[in-house]
Structure formats: C-alpha cells, structure tokens
C-alpha cells in the first residue's frame, strides 16, 4: 500500500461490494482490450521517503548554484535575497494547497492577496489595470502581442533588437498562426531607434526597460512615435522604484518577469509574469482578475471578476486560453514588496544603481574590456571583451566567480544584486583581468 493512499484490503472489498463488481479491473471494462497496457509500467518500484530524499539531495549536489560561487549571472533572473518571512508564509497549507478561488466565501485570503497584488503592480507600473499574474515574463510579452493584435486588428509587430531574446522567440513561436509579422527596430549604442510615427499597420511596439543590454530606454521619446499602435514595455519590476513609471510615459501595456520580487531562481521557474495595462484595455486582459465587492450582510469581500473574458465562459472567443494565475508566486511578490516597503524599494534601487555603476567603471578599466554601450544603467550592463566571452566565463567560473552571461562571441552581461558586495565586484575584476591577460 502506498503511503499516500489509505484503502486497506477490507476497505477495497467493502467498496467493491457496494459498487457491485468483483474486482478493480471490472471498473476498467470500458477500456478496449486493444489499448490496454497489459504489463507493468517500465518505471522502478516505489521507494521509501528517505531514499527519495537522498536521491534528490544527490542530484541537487551536482549543481553549482549561487550558493557555491560568486555569481553575476542575470539576463532575466537575478539572485536577490529572499527574506525568511516569505518561506514561512508560503509554506502555510492555506496558501500552498487550495485550487483557484472558485468558491469566494472560503477563498477570501487568496482573493484579497490577488487584490493587494494587483494594487502593487498598478502602483509600480503606473497603469490602472493589473491582472492577478500570468505564467512568467516572455510568455507575458507574447500575451501582450495577442491582446494588441485582437484589439487593433493589425498585423505587424515592431520589436526592439534589445528586447530580451527569450521574449522575441516566445512572441515569434506563439504568433505562428495569427497572420502577423515581426519587424526589428535597430539599436544604436544601446538604444532602440525610432524617429518617425510608425505605420498604421502596426499592432504593437515591444521594448525592454531596462533592455537586454542593461540600457535605460527613453520610453517617453519612443511613445511619441507609437501612432495607433500599442506600446508594450517589458520591465524589471524591481527597478521601478527608481525609474519613471511606464504609465506616465504613455505605455499601453507593461509586462515582465516577476522573479526579482521575492521568488527563488529555481533554475528558471516557477515564478510569475505581471501584466498591467491602460483602462481602455480592461476587457481585453488575459487571466484572472480579483475585484472588491460586498456580501449579503454588507461585509467587504473579494471575488474573481470580469470572468466573461475567460476561456471557461467565452471559449473560442476568450481573450486568452490561460486559466491559472501564478497565485503562490504572486503572493511571494506582494509579501516581498511589503517587506521592502515604499522607501525600501527606492533604497534598494539606489544601491543597485551605485554598485552597478561602480562595477561598470571598475571592469571597463581593465585592458581588453570595452563598454557595449554608454547609456545609463540600473542593475546590469553589457561589456565587449577582447576574448571569446564563453571561454572567459569558463575561466572565471573555474576560479569561483561566475562573471555573467556570455552572448554573441564577445559580449558579457554582468548583473548586480544587493547580494554582490564591493568586495565581490573587486574579486570579479581581478579574475576578469587574469582571464583577459
């Protein structure tokens, strides 16, 4: 008997008798003979908990994580400190184990969290409408593309060459059947180039903030040229304490990866994607949205609302096929933002700006290192190395310092978090100097 089931032999006999069949096999009578497996699954027999733990522990030990080296890897996910209260709250079964809040009377906790989360995302992005989260960053970009295409009924996407490559690839894959095309916007010295109003066949313009190479884009300037297209910005939410909000610069949709808000690296997921938009797009939003209301006794409460947008009601006419949020990860996000608080978000952003600037200046002073661009940066910057960047990464990693993400042949993207001190940065400079000598 498995340790996760409770049916004893007596139970089984009583239950079969109540059903009126002889054996469990009789319950599978509808499965035609021709498609029955007729043999045991070729998967090893079950193991005791201790052995499963040991196997997983051994696998984990084969990985070199941010625990084991000084890591400057970023490029979409970042090694920020996750405060202990997040572990504590997320491990509560009342948050960990329920399903989507279909019965609001017994789901007020989860629904209120969604409402608080939506408020926080709306504050960060400066846009009035946020859903309760989507899968993750790049697929949120693709979801913004679908919204823009169905809303504007136009077929061209303009994508900055400095948008995160995963976002570009995800948009391209997802839009294969839409009859849309993707055109690239060139990037010069780190910045997306757009100097005239886009054509009236354009559904959306996609830009990263900061972009993939770490540069801060001039969103207000870009938005002057959006014409009838929607301006979609993929932002790093943790930088929005110090950077102008997308909403105040004319952005229509702001999406992005939420991992930086209190979620672990987890080798890429699960995390959450955030999705915020202007009021005009409220009824085009994908995903779950929580709203405030009252109960029959006049008490304040929360429900899933505007559900007629969604697949379980509108089916083939739904605004998206998505049915879940990333509720638990979004909860980590809103706890993290409460933990940072209004001042802490700014202080953390300012710390990143200063350390990133220091790191960039220190590394750029090394022979064989040039800046990829000289635009202002917040938490990440790109360098051009005199040697193959992939080999440089190998060289440094062997010395306990992972210098960042190697791209193209000689590009290196270096990310800073509050966990990388001046001493760590100085150590990186030493190792990099050695690698390039």
């Amino acid at each position: 008997m498995s340790r996760y089931t409770s049916a004893t032999e007596t139970d089984r006999q009583e239950m079969l008798a109540a059903i009126g069949v002889e054996s469990i096999d009789d319950l599978f009578a509808d499965v035609p003979e021709g498609v029955r497996l007729g043999r045991p699954l070729d998967i090893a027999p079950g193991k005791p908990e201790q052995e499963v733990f040991a196997r997983l522990r051994d696998l984990a030990a084969k990985n070199v994580s941010a625990e084991d080296e000084i890591s400057f890897l970023g490029a979409g996910m970042y090694d920020h400190y996750v405060p202990a209260l997040i572990d504590s709250i997320l491990s509560r079964s009342e948050f960990l184990t329920p399903y989507t809040p279909y019965q609001p009377e017994i789901s007020q906790g989860g629904l209120q969290v969604m409402f608080e989360y939506q408020t926080a995302i709306s504050e960060l992005t400066g846009l009035p409408v946020s859903n309760a989260s989507v899968y993750e960053g790049p697929s949120a970009v693709a979801a913004a593309g679908w919204l823009a295409h169905t809303h504007t009924k136009k077929t061209k996407f303009l994508v900055s060459e400095s948008l995160h490559p995963h976002s570009l690839e995800t948009l391209a894959t997802t839009s294969a059947g839409w009859g849309t095309t993707i055109e690239m916007l060139p990037v010069v010295n780190g910045l997306t180039q757009l100097d005239e109003v886009v054509g009236d066949d354009v559904a959306a313009i996609f830009v990263g903030q900061p972009n993939f190479h770490g540069a801060i884009e001039d969103i207000a300037a870009l938005s002057q040229f959006k014409g009838s297209a929607l301006l979609v910005v993929q932002a790093d939410p943790l930088t929005l304490g110090v950077l102008r909000s997308p909403g105040e610069d004319g952005v229509d949709i702001c999406v992005g990866e939420g991992q930086t808000l209190g979620n672990r690296l987890d080798f890429g997921g699960p995390s959450f994607g955030f999705f915020a938009a202007s009021q005009a797009l409220l009824r085009r939003m994908p995903g779950r949205i929580a709203g405030e209301t009252t109960d029959v006794d006049g008490r304040r409460g929360f429900v899933l609302t505007l559900q007629t947008r969604e697949q379980h009601i509108r089916r083939e006419k739904a605004t998206s096929n998505i049915c879940t949020a990333q509720a638990l990860n979004a909860l980590a996000g809103v706890i993290y933002l409460s933990w940072l608080g209004r001042e802490g978000l700014v202080e953390l952003g300012e710390l990143l700006v200063s350390r990133t600037h220091y790191a960039r200046e220190t590394l750029a002073a090394i022979d064989g290192v040039e800046l990829w661009h000289d635009q202002p940066v917040v938490r990440e910057f790109a360098l051009k190395l005199s040697k193959n960047a992939h080999e440089v990464v190998e060289f440094c990693s062997a010395r306990g310092v992972n210098p960042g993400f190697a791209f193209d042949d000689n590009g290196l993207l270096v990310a800073i978090t509050e966990q990388r001190s001046k001493a760590d940065i100085d150590r990186l400079a030493e190792v990099l100097k050695e690698a390039l000598a």
Binding site: L27, R36, F53, P98, R244, L351
Partner: protein
C-alpha cells in the same frame, strides 16, 4: 424547519452573530474587527521591515530625466504585522490539507510534504537557469529522468517539459500540429473539439490561428462517431480529446476515432487533465494519440498554490518530434546531459529558460516515491473511490434528486445533474454547493460540463479515505433532507464562512480591481 438556537450551538461552524446581530453575548474579536483590511490600510509612514545593506561604493545617481519623482505607494509596515496580516488572510482560505476537495477535473490529491523540502534544497532553489549545463548536471539529469518517466506513462517517447500549465501545453500541441502540417506544405484551417471539452481547448484553437469545429456527444457520453466522420475532412488539422472525457466516461470507441482522424491526415491531441484515471492501465500513445499534455499540478502533485504555479509538459510521437520546443534536455553518449538548441524544425520556445523546474522536482520525487506499480495503483484507487462515492450516493438516495448524467460505471470522476433537485425542491446546484461549505467540504465543480443541466462534477481522488467519502455522501443527503423541509436554508447558505454570498454582479458592473491609494 428553521434554524434554531440549539442547532446554532450544536454547529460551531455557524457564527451566531451573523444570524442574530442583536446578540450581545458574542464578542467581536480583533480579527473580526480587522475584517478584510488590506495591507495598505495597515501602513504607516516610517515603518519598515527592510534594512538595506551598507553602501560600500561611491554614491551614483541616475540622470534626472529617468528618475521617478514619487515612489510607488507600497505599504510601510514592520515584519511582525506583515506576518500577522498574511497569517490572518490564510485563515480565510479553505485548503486541501484541511479538508476534502472533490473539485472535478482538478485532481485535488494530497501534496506530499517531502516535495517542498527537496524543491527548497539550495542546489535547486538557487540554481540560475543560465548556468552552463556542465555545472547544472543534476538539474538536467532530473529533467531527463522525468522526461523518460512521463514518456513511459503516456506511451509517447518524446517529452518537452517547457509549457508552464495545461493551457500552455495545449497551445504547444496546436503549434506543433501546425508546424507538422506546414512542413509538408499542407495548410489546414480547422480543429475539432467535442462539445464536452474544457473551455481551454476552443480558446487555445483560436490562439493557435485555427477555426473551432464542435463535435457532438453520443448517448453514452462519448464522441458522436457519425458527426465526427461528417466533420473530419482534409481541412482538419487536429482533434483535441480528453479520455476519459469531462463526463468521467472512457470513450470505448477510441480506436475507431483515431482511425477516422488519422484517415484524414490530422493529428490526435490528448488533453491530460484526466490522466489520473488511467496510469498503468492504458496509455494515450497506445490509443493512437500523437500529442499529450500532462498537468503536473493535477496528476503529479504540484500543490495548486491557490491557482498556480503548475506545469504542462507535452509528449509526442516520432513524427511530431522534430517540431517540439527548444531547448531540449538530451543525454549524450558519454552519459552527461546537455541542452540541445540545434533543432531546425522546432517551433521555438514558448517561455523563458527551461520551464517550471521547481515543479519538475516535485513531480519527479512523486514518481520516485510511487514507482510504476504505485502509479498504477493510484489510478485504480482513484477510479475505485469515484465509483464507491457514486454507489454511496445511490444508497443514500441522493441520486434520486441528483441523478448521474450517465448511469454506468465511471472512471475517476462522475457528473450528477441537479435538474430534478431544482424542479422538486427549488434548489439549484449552486445552493447545494454553498450549503456544503457549512459542512466544511469544498464543493465539487459546478455548472461544468455545460452539456449537463445544473451539473456537479465530482472527483474524489485516490488519497481520500472511505470514511471521508462516507461523510461527504452523508452531508449531501443531509442537505437534500433539509432542503425538502426548508429550502430557504440552502438558498441563503453559507452561514459559517468568513463572508457569505458575495455580490458578483456588482463587482462586474463597476469593477474595483485595485485599491485607490
């Protein structure tokens, strides 16, 4: 019958003050006064939980042009109150670890506690997704092992772990179908879905750029073969099917269905929402399916998290393999593992990085714990529990007013119709569901599948005891008995929950979806 004082006292789940606001003996606790206050309403300027690390480098400021003038209005609050706030909120949730959750189509089975521990090991939790594969061998080995096991369970050898949820897996399935056809110069326009399908199926078809064509259901709850034959033509790219379907019925004509679909050159897609019924008994690949998605959060115990995260890997047959997402985890000849980006016919990527790895850790641990034999037993007991619960509801006369939509053996779930109850007692399925809340059970899925009037879709799962199933059946019977005497009680239920029925129409008419600050 009306609710009396005695009953109120007998049932501690009913809060007396809600029915009798004038009763002065009831003390309103701090928690009740605090009712539904948001974290923003507990904020006070100057409070904080975060202390920034010391600035150990020269201060540098962004150019004024890019700097935000006013900080976002996040809460200002210290750690103790953050913890209390969210602990209080948690107590306003019903959860699987506290009670029976027979939500049809959602497979609310126990979430083993070991899984949280192994997912949190730093080697997993702090592993950056862009770590060189040479230094992420443990993670890649885990993913490869999971791929192999999932492939064996589905009877389809090639697994892509990337999709983030069931709906995302469906989209992957539709996109590989498109790539498969178009690679042969075959441009098709339609995808068939049964009228019993989950809403995600037609929604996915539209997002994949195809037209939805509905196929009818026969008297046994399976696909209407004649309707399928009439609609299957050379413009059909795919048939999306769930088997057992959303009515809890295994379609015994599956071989015939596969023949018809393959006969017109279309692919056959398996929505794995109901895979928990058939592990080790039959496999989608053996039934003739080309593409399957798994819901790791249903069948393979990833906790649902209040609505995510999940993961929706797909498995495909040899002819579809060239098109699945990249990168793929592969095992090299020297026994090491790598990420393969060199897949020229791949549809590309559907998200960042390699998928929801934390979910893979839990699902792999589950498969190790149960093994092949245990997985088969899990499905057998899931089906046993469902059939037993149905038998018990029959024995107690519940099915007189809530007859099964299809009166036969079921698989891991079954559908009742509340139509006679509505007619005879004036109680809707919604009322029954709300009254179940007062009995401390999570109600089954209601009003789905759409095909069944006043539907109630019940999936007990294998991890529930016979005693729990008996208690649930008794509660159902009790609600009907009570409803026969005084239907008003259920119509106004629930009573003992943190809030009672909520004004959903008001919320939709004038949406308040963020707090004004």
């Amino acid at each position: 019958m009306s609710i009396t004082e005695n009953q109120l006292h007998a049932d501690p789940s009913i809060e007396a003050h809600e029915l009798h606001p004038q009763r002065s003996a009831v003390i309103e606790t701090e928690q009740q006064r605090d009712h539904a206050k948001t974290i923003y309403e507990k904020s006070k300027p100057g409070r904080r939980a975060f202390v920034a690390p010391e600035l150990d480098v020269p201060k540098h400021e962004l150019p004024a042009k890019f700097r935000r003038a006013e900080a976002p209005k996040l809460p200002e609050i210290a750690e103790p109150e953050i913890v209390r706030h969210y602990n209080r909120l948690s107590k306003r949730n019903f959860d699987l670890d506290s009670g029976f959750y027979p939500l049809g189509s959602c497979t609310m089975k126990h979430n083993p506690k070991l899984h949280e521990r192994v997912a949190a090991l730093p080697g997993h939790a702090r592993l950056h997704p862009l770590t060189n594969p040479k230094r992420a061998q443990g993670a890649l080995e885990l993913m490869h092992s999971l791929q192999v096991a999932l492939g064996e369970i589905a009877g389809l050898p090639h697994v892509s772990l990337q999709p983030s949820a069931g709906s995302h897996g469906e989209l992957a399935g539709v996109l590989v179908t498109r790539a498969y056809h178009e690679d042969r110069g075959d441009f098709r326009t339609k995808i068939l879905t049964p009228d019993t399908a989950h809403g995600t199926n037609p929604a996915t078809v539209t997002m994949g750029g195809y037209e939805v064509v509905k196929v009818g259901t026969n008297a046994d709850g399976g696909v209407d073969i004649e309707d399928l034959r009439a609609k299957a033509d050379d413009q059909v790219a795919c048939l999306m099917l769930t088997n057992p379907n959303t009515l809890g019925v295994f379609d015994a004509n599956i071989e015939e269905i596969a023949k018809i679909v393959h006969g017109v050159g279309a692919t056959l897609y398996y929505d794995g929402a109901n895979l928990n019924a058939v592990m080790g008994k039959t496999r989608p690949g053996d039934m003739g399916f080309d593409i399957v998605h798994y819901n790791l959060h249903k069948t393979f115990t990833q906790p649902h998290g209040g609505g995510g995260p999940g993961a929706g890997p797909i498995a495909v047959s040899d002819r579809i393999e060239p098109y699945i997402t990249k990168p793929q985890v592969v095992k090299l000849e020297d026994g090491t593992f790598d990420l393969d980006f060199d897949r020229p016919k791949s549809i590309g990527r559907l998200r960042g990085f390699q998928g929801n790895f934390g979910v893979f850790v839990r699902s792999y641990a589950y498969i190790l714990s149960l093994g092949g034999d245990g997985l088969q037993e899990a499905s057998e007991l899931a089906v046993l529990n469902a059939n037993y619960l149905l038998a018990k509801l029959r024995e107690l006369g519940v099915t007189d007013l809530l007859p099964p939509a299809y009166d036969r053996l079921c698989m891991h779930e079954f559908v009742l119709s509340g139509a006679p109850m509505k007619r005879e007692l004036g109680l809707k399925t919604l009322d029954l569901a709300k009254r179940l809340l007062d009995h401390n059970f999570h109600p089954p899925t209601v009003y789905f599948p759409l095909l069944v009037e006043e539907a109630l879709l019940i999936e007990p799962t294998e991890t529930e005891t016979k005693e729990t199933l008996d208690a649930f059946a008794e509660a159902m019977a009790e609600i009907l008995r009570e409803g026969a005497e005084d239907p008003e009680i259920a119509r106004n239920a629930p009573y003992g929950t943190p809030v009672r029925r909520l004004d959903e129409a008001g919320a939709a008419k004038r949406p308040v979806i963020r707090q004004p600050l």
